[in-house]
């Protein structure tokens, strides 16, 4: 195995996940929960936190064991590591947040199939030591969390006229956005917004407007 590379500065690692490589709107990875659970801020926040914790723990454990595992079987080993942390997370959430878990339970279990987590292990943890892996995982997890909360706030405000279950508008401006179809519209619009901000900042658009990875 190659030796650890010098890590980039912490601020770069943190900010990368939040904007330039935002897992949802930029990399277009792990889209299912972004559309599915963002009918309210609460749901988005809970799943976001779950992903954040799993991402950080998996990145760190991946970095810890990278010298021990044969590179040929690294993908199954990574999957196994993620599955262990997801199982733990699943049980914790089911025990302590039973009411929200009822709505998002299936998606918590499916964190194991999120491409973003394994891709950070493969791209970052394999080459860096534990502490930078922690910061990278934290940045990516936060980017995911912010994306989910943003989409959740947008949909809850427009669809239900409330934030965090507290009514802020006396009416429901656009019921459509909390319907199943609304999730797709919301994510599409926020993606376009990210592109628009990029154009304003003088960047060129990434080819394919965010690209579509598997």
């Amino acid at each position: 195995m190659s030796a650890n590379r010098p890590p980039p500065p912490i601020s770069t690692m943190l900010m990368r996940g939040l904007f330039e490589e935002n897992p949802i709107f930029r990399l277009a990875l792990s889209l299912c929960p972004a559309v599915a659970v963002t009918t309210s801020v609460k749901n988005g926040l809970m799943l976001g936190c779950a992903v954040l914790v799993v991402q950080v723990l998996s990145s760190m454990s991946g970095s810890l064991v990278k010298h021990v595992i044969n590179p040929k079987i690294r993908i199954p080993v990574f999957t196994l590591i993620i599955a262990i942390w997801v199982s733990a997370m699943d049980m914790i959430l089911a025990a302590y947040f039973a009411d929200i878990y009822q709505q998002v339970g299936l998606y918590v279990k499916l964190i194991v199939a999120f491409a973003i987590i394994i891709s950070r292990m493969e791209l970052f943890s394999m080459k860096h030591s534990v502490v930078p892996s922690f910061w990278d995982g934290l940045g990516m997890g936060l980017g995911f969390l912010v994306g989910l909360v943003l989409a959740g706030a947008f949909r809850e405000l427009l669809g239900n006229g409330s934030i965090f279950g507290i009514a802020v508008l006396p009416f429901k401006p656009l019921l459509l956005v909390v319907l199943p179809a609304g999730g797709f519209f919301t994510i599409g619009l926020i993606m376009a917004l990210f592109n628009w901000v990029d154009v304003k900042r003088g960047h060129k658009l990434p080819s394919g407007g965010g690209g579509a990875h598997g």
């Binding site: 277009a28 990875l29 792990s30 889209l31 299912c32 929960p33 559309v35 599915a36 199954p76 999957t79 196994l80 599955a83 262990i84 997801v86 199982s87 699943d90 049980m91 299936l106 279990k109 499916l110 194991v112 199939a113 491409a115 319907l179 199943p180 179809a181 609304g182 999730g183 797709f184 519209f185 994510i187 599409g188 619009l189 993606m191 376009a192 592109n195 628009w196 154009v199 658009l205 080819s207 394919g208 407007g209 965010g210 690209g211 579509a212 990875h213 598997g214």
Partner: protein
Amino acid sequence: MADAKVVSPHEILVDGALPADATAIRLVRSADADIPLAVVSVKPAAQANSFVLTTAETLNKQDHYQLTAKGVDQAWEIAPSPLTMVISVIIGSALINNFVFTRYLGLCVFFGVSRNKDTAIGMGVTFTIVGLLSGMIAWALNTIALEPLKLEFMQIIAFIGIVACLVQATDLILKKVNPILHKKFGIYLVLITTNCIILAVPLLNATNGATFLQAFGLALGAGLGFAIALFLMSCAIEKVNMAPVPAIFRGLPIAFIIAGLFALSFLGFSGLKVA
């Protein structure tokens, strides 16, 4: 156990002796056995030794009912025919609760391979077959091993293991047995591992305590639904690629908007009922 079946929305045909008094008969839905359904009348049917029950409430042919009567030492179980049940589960999971458009699963692969019709069809076919296989193996493992041994907490790890092994095995076997087919479909096999539908099917089956036929229906319906969604989307995307889309919407944003429109139209299936 004697035979009884739902023949029309308000009638049940029962084989065997029944008291003529309608109040002596107790009919319940198996799902909530505490609430008796009102029986309006009991009449002898055209055939010998069988009766027709008329109920006030509308009966559903896909539901399970239990029937007992005072003074009769017999119980009737009313279950839908297996074929009806499988078909209703397949239609339910393919159209009414389409995995892509109403459960939002498998989106990464969905947006990745819906660029043209050929890849959409290839992925749809491969996914349906592998999804069905893995769904059934996972169901068997869960029913035979995990549940009796109280190892339910291992479900996530076990199911992802099955999917990974199955994809790898199919890849190897196909490469040896039919290299031409492998050349055509091999690339989609690799992508299947990142598709969350393939993991969601066994998890849903395990949560709902599905029977063999229900598990089969869900696995097949999920694959068909995914294939339908992929094909529809690829047709739309091929048209949009030739349209003047605003620069910031090009690529994924417009694909999401189209998917949203499809999801809206799939809402129409929610009124569909399988008789």
